[in-house]
Amino acid sequence: MSRNNDSVVHCDRLTKIYDEIVALEDLSLDIPAGHIFGYIGHNGAGKTTTIRILAGLLEATRGSATICGVDVGSGRDRIKSMVGYMPDSFGVYDQMRVWEYLDFFGAAFKIPRARRRDRIDHVLDITEAEYMRDRFVDTLSHGMKQRVGIARTLMHDPQVLLLDEPANGLDPNARVQMRKLLRRLADGGKTLIVSSHILPELAAVCDSVGIIHEGHLRAWGPLHKVLSEIQRDRLMELKVIDPAQMPQAHKTVTQDDRVSQTDESDKAEGVLRFRFKGDDSALSRLLQSAVSAGIGVVTLREIPLSLEDAYMAISGISSEVPDSGPQPAEDSSAS
C-alpha cells in the first residue's frame, strides 16, 4: 500500500504476537490530519494493542508505525511529545485537585511554568471542565474523569490523540458531550484515533473507520465507503397490503435467482425481507413481476446497513476473508 503524503499516522504491516497469541497481524493503514478515526472491534480484537504500540508503550513484533514521520519504535522520546494517550481505565491520585493533576503532568512533559498555567486554562476550557478545577480528581464521576483524562492528554498539545474506549461506561448525556468534544478537537486540527465497541457512538462522529476482528483489520476508510464495500448483498423489505398474499409473494420473489436469505418473521404484518444481488434495474424488474402477479405491494425499500450490521457482517465472515490485508475504501474527499 502506498503511503499517503498528508497522513499523520501510518502503519505498515504492524504485527504483535504474545507467545502463541497473535494479537495483531499485518495492520496497514493511513490516517490523514484532522481526522477522527473510529477503531471498531469487540473486546480482545486488537484495538488496545494497536493504540499502545502507537503510544510507544508496546513493542511491535514486526512491521512499523510512524506518527508525523517519526518511527514509534526508535523515536520514542519524540513520539511522547506528539501523542496524547488516554487508556481504557486510567488511574488518578488521591488527594489531588484537577488543576494539580494537570500541573503534574504538564511538569512531567517539561512544559515551562508560565506556559503550563495557560495550558491548564486552555484544556479545561476546551473540555468544558473549568468548573471542576478545584475538585479532587478521585471524587469525580466517571464522565467527569474521562473529560479530565482528555484534558490531561491535551496538556502538552500533541498532534495525535489516542483515546481507548473514551465513551465506555458513560451515560447517554455524557456520550453526546463526549462526541461534541471529539468533534471540537478534530476541528481544532488534532488527529484522533478513538476505539470503541459501542458502534453508534463512532458512526455519528468519525470521518473514517477501521473494523478489526481477531487481530486483522477487515476494512477501513470513510464510513459510507466501508459500509458499501461490506454491503455486497442489498437488504430489501417488501410490504404487501394483505398478509394472506405472503405465500404468493414469497414464491414470486424467490423465483428470481438474485434473491437469497428470505426472512418471513414478520409475515403477520405482511413484511418479507430478503437479500438481493443486483442493480436498480434488476430490482425494478422484480417489482414489476410482483405487481403483475397480482400482489398488492405497498412498499419495496432497501434497508440501509448500519455500522453495527457492518461490524457483525465482518465478524461473521471472518473465516472467509483472505488474509491479504484490507483494501482502503476509495474516497476522493479523504485524501
Binding site: 510507544g56 489531588m96 503534574f104 511554568r113
Partner: protein
C-alpha cells in the same frame, strides 16, 4: 466443613500462589541452613545433649521468627484485598451464610501458616531421634508453633477485617505483632529489671500472664528453660503452659470479632471535602490548627522541582505536610519531655548525673533507630508499586520523565520524612550534653557518631522501601517485604543475645554488624558492644548495600518504563 466451597477455593488458591511457594521454599532453606551451620562437624555420635539442645532451640526460635514474619503478609491483606477488588459483595450475594464465608477465608489464610509449621516438624523431630531432646519437648514446641501460627494469623485477619486498604492492614498487623511478641514478653526479661520479680504474688501473676500472651516467650520457655529470659514468676507454671489456654482464648475471641465484623460490610473511606480552597495569604483558625492548612491553594510545580517528589508529598496520605509536620512536632516534644522526665526522676542524678549521660545517649539513639525502622516501611513501602496499582504508572510512562528522575523523586519522598522524624529526636541527644560540660567533647563525638548511624539507617530504610516497591507490584507485598527484612535484621541480634555463648564470636559480630540498633548503641559509647568495633564496617556495608539497592531500583524502573 470441607464441603464449604469457599474453604476449598481459598485453601487451593492460597497454596497455589507464587508467594506461598516462595515463602515455603525460603522457610525450608533457612531451616536447612540453620541445621547445616550448626550441626557438629565431628560426626553425629558426638552430639551431646547440650549441643542437641542448642540446635533444637535455634531451630525452634528460627521457625517461630519466620512464622511471625510471614503471618501478616499472608493474612493481613486477605480480606482487604477482597474489598479493594469489590469481590466481597458478590460472595455475600450467594446462598452461603456469612459465617461460612468467614470460616472459609480464615481457613484459606491460616492453611499456609499451618503447613509451614508442619513442614518444619521433620527437622525438629530429627533431633529427637538423635537423643538428648525429650519427646514431650518436641511435641510442646510443635504444639506452641501451631497455636502461634493460628494466633498470629488470626490477629492479621482481625486487622484485615477492620481495615479497607491492604497496605494499612499490613502496617497495623506488624505493629500489633511487635507488641504481642516483644512488648508483652518484656516484663519477663532482664531488660525491664524483671518486673516479674517485683511486687506481691498477685502482681507477679499478672505480669506472668501478660508475658504468657507472647508466643515468643512461650517458645523461649520451652527451649531455654534455664535462661534468664525464660524464668516465670514463682509458683506459676512455665510460660508455654499458660500460653496454651490463653492463646486458645485469644483465637476464639479474635475469631468471633472477625466473624461479627465480616457480617457488616465496611464503607470505603469517607469522601473528602470537594470544593473549598483557601487562597494563599488568607489566615484562619485552620492555619494554626494544621500548621499548614491542607486546603490552602498549592503552588504550581517549579522548574527546579522534581514533579514526582511534589506529587508524592501532595498525594501520599503519610507524606502530606500537615501530617508530617505534626508527626515531627510530636516526636520533638516527646523526645525532649522523655529526656527531662528521665533526668528528673533519677534519684542519683544530682550526684552521679555525669556518669549516666552515655547511658542516656545510648537509650535515645536506640529509640530513634527503632522509630525509623518501624515507621520507615509504612512511608516507603508503596513508593513505586502504588502507582502501578492505581494505574497511574501507565500515564507516567507516556511522559518525558526519565527513570533516574522518577527514582530520585521516589527516594527523596521516602528519605525526607524519615530524616525529619529521626532529626526530631536529635534535641534529646543535645539536651544530655547540657548536663555534663566537663566531658563535652567526648559526648559530642558520640552524638556525631550516632547521627551518622541514624543518617545511614534512614538512607538504608528509604532505599529498601523503594527497592522492594520496584520489585513487587503490590504495595502490601512491598511493605511486608520491607518490614520482614528490617525485623529479621533486628531478630538476628535478639537470638544472639539469648544465647551468646552458643555462637562463635564471628557470627555474633556479623549479626550485630547488620543491626543498626546495635551499631547505634556502639556509636553512643555503650561499653558492652565496644569490643566488636561495629561503626565503620557497618557504615561501609550499609553504604554498599544501599547503593546496590538503589541501582537495582533504577534498572527496574527503566525496565518498567520500557515498551512491553
Amino acid at each position: 466443613m470441607i464441603a464449604n466451597p469457599i474453604i476449598r477455593k481459598e485453601v487451593l488458591s492460597s497454596l497455589r500462589t507464587r508467594k506461598a511457594v516462595l515463602m515455603q521454599v525460603m522457610f525450608l532453606l533457612v531451616v536447612a541452613l540453620l541445621i547445616w551451620r550448626n550441626w557438629p562437624a565431628e560426626g553425629l555420635q558426638d552430639i551431646g545433649s547440650q549441643q542437641a539442645r542448642r540446635i533444637f532451640s535455634i531451630l525452634a526460635i528460627g521457625q517461630f521468627a519466620m512464622i511471625a514474619l510471614f503471618a501478616p503478609a499472608f493474612t493481613a491483606a486477605s480480606l482487604t484485598s477482597e474489598r479493594e477488588r469489590n469481590t466481597m459483595e458478590s460472595l455475600f450475594a450467594t446462598p452461603l451464610r456469612p459465617w461460612e464465608i468467614a470460616v472459609g477465608k480464615m481457613a484459606g489464610s491460616l492453611a499456609f501458616l499451618v503447613l509451614l509449621v508442619l513442614s518444619g516438624v521433620p527437622a525438629l523431630a530429627m533431633l529427637f531421634l538423635m537423643g538428648g531432646i525429650p519427646g514431650q519437648m518436641v511435641l510442646a514446641v510443635v504444639g506452641v508453633l501451631l497455636l502461634a501460627a493460628v494466633y498470629l494469623g488470626m490477629i492479621g485477619l482481625l486487622v484485615s477485617s477492620l481495615m479497607y486498604r491492604s497496605y494499612r492492614a499490613i502496617i497495623v498487623t506488624y505493629a500489633v505483632l511487635l507488641v504481642v511478641c516483644f512488648l508483652f514478653a518484656l516484663p519477663a526479661w532482664p531488660v525491664s529489671k524483671n518486673l516479674l520479680r517485683e511486687g506481691g504474688p498477685a502482681w507477679q501473676a499478672v505480669f506472668h500472664l501478660v508475658a504468657s500472651l507472647s508466643p515468643l516467650e512461650a517458645i523461649l520457655s520451652i527451649v531455654l528453660d534455664k535462661s534468664l529470659y525464660a524464668a516465670g514468676a514463682e509458683g506459676m507454671p512455665p510460660f508455654w503452659q499458660t500460653f496454651i489456654p490463653l492463646s486458645v482464648g485469644a483465637i476464639v475471641v479474635t475469631s468471633v470479632a472477625c466473624l461479627i465484623k465480616l457480617h457488616r460490610p465496611i464503607a470505603p473511606p469517607r469522601p473528602r471535602e470537594k470544593l473549598r480552597v483557601v487562597e494563599r495569604g488568607k489566615i484562619s483558625a485552620r492555619t494554626f490548627l494544621f500548621v499548614i492548612d491542607p486546603r490552602k491553594r498549592k503552588r504550581m510545580i517549579r522548574w527546579w522541582q522534581n514533579p514526582i517528589l511534589i506529587k508524592e508529598f501532595r498525594t501520599r496520605p503519610m507524606l502530606q505536610a500537615q501530617w508530617l509536620l505534626r508527626a515531627v512536632g510530636i516526636c520533638l516534644i516527646v523526645s525532649v519531655l522523655l529526656m527531662l522526665l528521665v533526668a528528673l526522676s533519677v534519684s542519683q542524678w544530682v550526684a552521679e548525673g555525669a556518669r549516666m549521660i552515655p547511658d542516656m545517649i545510648t537509650a535515645v539513639s536506640a529509640l530513634a533507630i527503632v522509630l525509623v525502622l518501624l515507621v520507615g516501611p509504612a512511608i516507603t513501602g508503596g513508593a513505586i508499586c502504588s502507582d502501578r496499582e492505581s494505574g497511574v504508572w501507565e500515564l507516567v510512562r507516556t511522559t518525558r520523565l526519565s527513570s533516574l528522575r522518577i527514582v530520585s523523586g521516589k527516594f527523596q519522598s521516602s528519605i525526607i520524612p524519615l530524616l525529619l522524624l529521626a532529626l526530631a529526636t536529635a534535641p534529646a541527644l543535645l539536651v544530655t550534653l547540657y548536663f555534663d560540660s566537663e566531658h563535652l567533647s567526648e559526648h559530642w563525638a558520640n552524638v556525631v557518631r550516632v547521627l551518622a548511624v541514624m543518617g545511614m539507617t534512614v538512607a538504608f530504610v528509604s532505599t529498601a522501601g523503594v527497592f522492594f516497591s520496584s520489585i513487587f507490584s503490590r504495595t502490601s507485598a512491598a511493605t511486608a517485604a520491607t518490614y520482614a527484612l528490617l525485623i529479621a535484621m533486628g531478630l538476628g541480634s535478639m537470638m544472639v543475645l539469648l544465647d551468646r555463648e552458643g555462637f562463635s564470636e564471628r557470627l555474633v559480630r556479623t549479626v550485630f554488624l547488620l543491626n543498626p540498633i546495635a551499631v547505634a548503641m556502639d556509636a553512643s559509647g555503650a561499653t558492652a558492644l565496644r569490643k566488636y568495633g561495629l561503626l565503620i564496617p557497618h557504615l561501609k556495608l550499609m553504604c554498599v548495600v544501599t547503593l546496590s539497592m538503589l541501582a537495582v531500583a533504577v534498572v527496574r524502573v527503566f525496565q518498567l518504563r520500557r515498551p512491553d
